[in-house]
């Protein structure tokens, strides 16, 4: 410990390194890819979830969980530099991916910003100990981009609220514990002024979790139907009808994605390390095409994009932390990551040749390239679409005129709505 009470960075790094060596297994190639693949049974999925809870607990016990969370809520109260050092030391090891987004950010981040003292004391240590996995209950069948257009209703009943409606596209809600939910509490004011945020356990009577098959066969997507779900007023986050104040920060945390200081992302993990472009090269090698000049050009491009994405995230993270950039600049990284990830998936598909269309179980990395390609757009949809990020960048960062909207100054109940979707 230095005189200021902050652990010396090098000592911290050594501590993290020793912990990882002694306790953690290697990262799987699947983890490195950071892709939503359809390659496990439910039992295997649940076993992984259980292992991640265990690893999160080990990190907590070793004083390596919640690096930038305040100590009074079980965090370490350290700096972004410490978080980065941890990210470096965990490179190549298994780590609790499911606890990062959305549990630690945006969910825990929103609790830190707006939660009551009691909420923070109850949930943040539990999250850091691996006891609570959280989901964002934001998107609805009627629309996800227009988040403030939520139709899920919450009606006050004494000290409780009664929620009805449906949330959708939550990834992994079937094995998660708590939900952070945006609901409508007032239909007679314009849309942004009638929202309130609540938290509640997902596994309870009144919440029906349905699983949705994704185009590649994965069943991680879920839809929740809420019928007369009772939430005590003490589980309200922020003021009544002031949910958009919470929502705005919530979106900010969401766009920060893996750039958030609250999140652990081992170097080389998923997109934004060099992990994905390495997998592209391994795919090309497995297909026997790595020596072809055209393939080498694509492999070089993939690596270029991986590193550009990483460096952009460092820059924007630093810019926001130091106030040189407005918070909304987080949309720049969201946009860039999304677009480059889809490009890298396309390259990964291209370099394996026909094995991208038909493969055997023995084909190694080749076997995944079609799956990853088919699911390519996930990186431009999940976490808010890249189109919405472009709106934010142009309007909030560059100050360009807002798009015309027909729902600004009218009571929400009078806002025109499209035809109900098949899932409403």
């Amino acid at each position: 410990m230095s005189s200021t009470g902050t652990e010396d960075l090098e000592a911290f790094r050594r501590r993290a390194r020793d912990f990882a060596r002694a306790n953690l297994g290697p990262a799987s190639a699947r983890t490195a890819a950071g892709a939503l693949r359809n390659d496990r049974t439910d039992e295997e999925e649940l076993a992984e979830v259980a292992r991640e809870r265990e690893v999160q607990r080990m990190l907590f016990d070793a004083g390596l969980a919640g690096i930038c969370f305040p100590t009074e809520y079980g965090g370490q109260g350290l700096t972004l530099a410490h978080q980065r050092a941890l990210n470096e030391e965990l490179a190549g090891y298994e780590f609790p991916t499911r606890f990062q987004a959305p549990t630690l950010s945006p969910c825990a981040a929103v609790l830190l910003d707006f939660g009551t003292e009691e909420q923070k004391r109850r949930h943040i240590p539990a999250i850091l100990k691996g006891e609570e996995l959280w989901m964002q209950f934001l998107s609805e069948p009627s629309g996800g981009s227009d988040v403030a257009g939520a139709l899920t209703s919450a009606v006050r009943d004494g000290d409780e609220w009664v929620l009805n409606g449906s949330k959708i596209w939550t990834t992994g809600a079937w094995w998660s514990d708590w939900g952070l939910c945006l609901a409508r509490t007032n239909w007679d004011v314009p849309k942004h002024r009638g929202l309130t945020v609540f938290i509640f356990p997902i596994r309870q009577e009144g919440i029906d979790v349905h699983r949705i098959e994704m185009l590649n066969g994965s069943k991680e997507f879920c839809q929740e139907f809420m019928t007369d779900v009772r939430v005590p007023d003490s589980d309200r986050v922020g003021d009544v009808d002031d949910g958009w104040t919470v929502g705005t920060r919530w979106m900010f945390h969401e766009r920060m994605l893996t750039n958030s200081p609250l999140v652990t992302v081992p170097v080389g993990f998923g997109h934004g390390g060099t992990g994905v472009s390495s997998l592209v090269a391994i795919g090309a090698r497995d297909a026997g095409r790595l020596s072809e000049p055209v393939v080498r050009d694509l492999v070089g491009e993939a690596r270029m994009l991986d590193i550009a994405d990483r460096e952009l995230r460092h820059r924007v993270g630093q810019g926001i932390a130091t106030g040189v950039m407005v918070d909304q600049s987080a949309a720049l990284t969201r946009l860039f990551s999304g677009v480059t990830a889809t490009r890298i998936r396309t390259i990964g598909f291209e370099v394996v040749g026909t094995a991208g269309a038909a493969w055997t179980d023995e084909d190694g990395q080749l076997a995944h390239s079609a799956d990853d390609y088919l699911m390519r757009q996930v990186s431009q949809i999940g976490g808010g679409t890249t189109e919405m990020a472009r709106n934010v960048v142009s309007e909030r960062v560059l100050g360009m005129p807002r798009e015309r909207s027909l729902d600004r100054d009218v009571p929400f109940r009078d806002v025109p709505r499209g035809r109900p979707s098949s899932r409403s």
């Binding site: 060099t274 472009s277 390495s278 090269a281 391994i282 090698r285 790595l290 000049p293 080498r296 050009d297 492999v299 070089g300 491009e301 690596r303 270029m304 994009l305 590193i307 550009a308 994405d309 460096e311 952009l312 460092h314 820059r315 924007v316 630093q318 810019g319 130091t322 040189v324 950039m325 600049s329 949309a331 720049l332 990284t333 946009l335 860039f336 677009v339 189109e387 990020a389 472009r390 709106n391 934010v392 960048v393 142009s394 309007e395 960062v397 560059l398 360009m400 005129p401 798009e403």
Partner: protein, 379 residues
Amino acid sequence: MLLALSSDQELFRETTAKLLDELVPVGELRRLREDADGFGTGYWRRGADLGWTSLLVGEHHGGGSISGAGLVDLALVAYEFGRHAAPGPLAVTNIVAATLDEAGGDRFDGVIKELLSGEAVATWGLAEAPPNDGLDSVLLDVRVEGDEVVLNGVKRPVESGGRADYLLVSGRTGSGLSQVLVPARTAGVSVSPMHSVDVTRRFSVVAFDDVRVPLDLVVGEPGAAAGQVELQAGRAVAIGCAEAVGAMQTAFDLTVEWAFDRYSFGRPLASYQELKHRFADMLSWLEASHAVSDAATAALASGSADAAELLSVAKAFIGDYGGELMQDCVQMHGGIGVTFEHDLHLYLRRHTLNRAIYGTPAEHRARLADIVEEQEGLA
């Protein structure tokens, strides 16, 4: 450009920007279009007084950096050069000064002094006629004969070849590389001007026909200069990228301003979602270009192991994505964007020049593939 500058760096950057505003406003750049050298001696000396040529040189030779990392400071100058599309052989003079400084001894003290004061200009001849204009194909012959070396071959494009007082020439001695500092007026050196895409940066074909110079003008050991050449190329990439990002920044700023001022159908261009979204993409490329340029410069300055990878990322990314940004700025200007009268092309030209020298984006992607292959043990 770096997000966080020290106050000394910020002062230095600002002083450089002011000097460029004063000495080379766009009107002056247009006038220099007809100038054989593309810049004036007075201008170059003023910059040298500020420190433009001394940042990579050690203090014992009269140089010195602002921050302790001279290349990082020089990148600030280069960035302002790009923002202003400024003239002058910034990269090559600094690269030669640094190599002479690092060569040790006192043989080059006089030359270094002249370069630092701006009295003399030096350039570097690396590339040769196509197809030997890539990073790794040096053919010019350097032969040791007693206490002399003899040079035969042709270098092109050589920046400011017609104006330079000293030519640092990279050549081949057997299977190794050699570097020789050839005074421009040595017998057998002939220089002929080339056409260039830039308004003020000049390039030449420099031919060496049995050029003889004393052996002590070999910088380092004959046949052992590969490391020097690699480092010089790295510096050229770092400086060129910082400059390219500066040019992108100005083009982007000009285009944002235009989008607010220009109306069609009763609305500013900036109100059309189609264009807003393209601006968002461009800003993400611009900020990513800043990020990779700064990361590469810092890595090379500190001798970090990933410097080669980051330099190739920066050169490839800024070349490709910056080129798209530049051309989309032209597109959003409409007809005025393709005129000589509008300033946009000054920055487009600067970016275009830097994209093609010291390795094209494709060449650097190929280098990245080599690096990935090696890192992953796939070779």
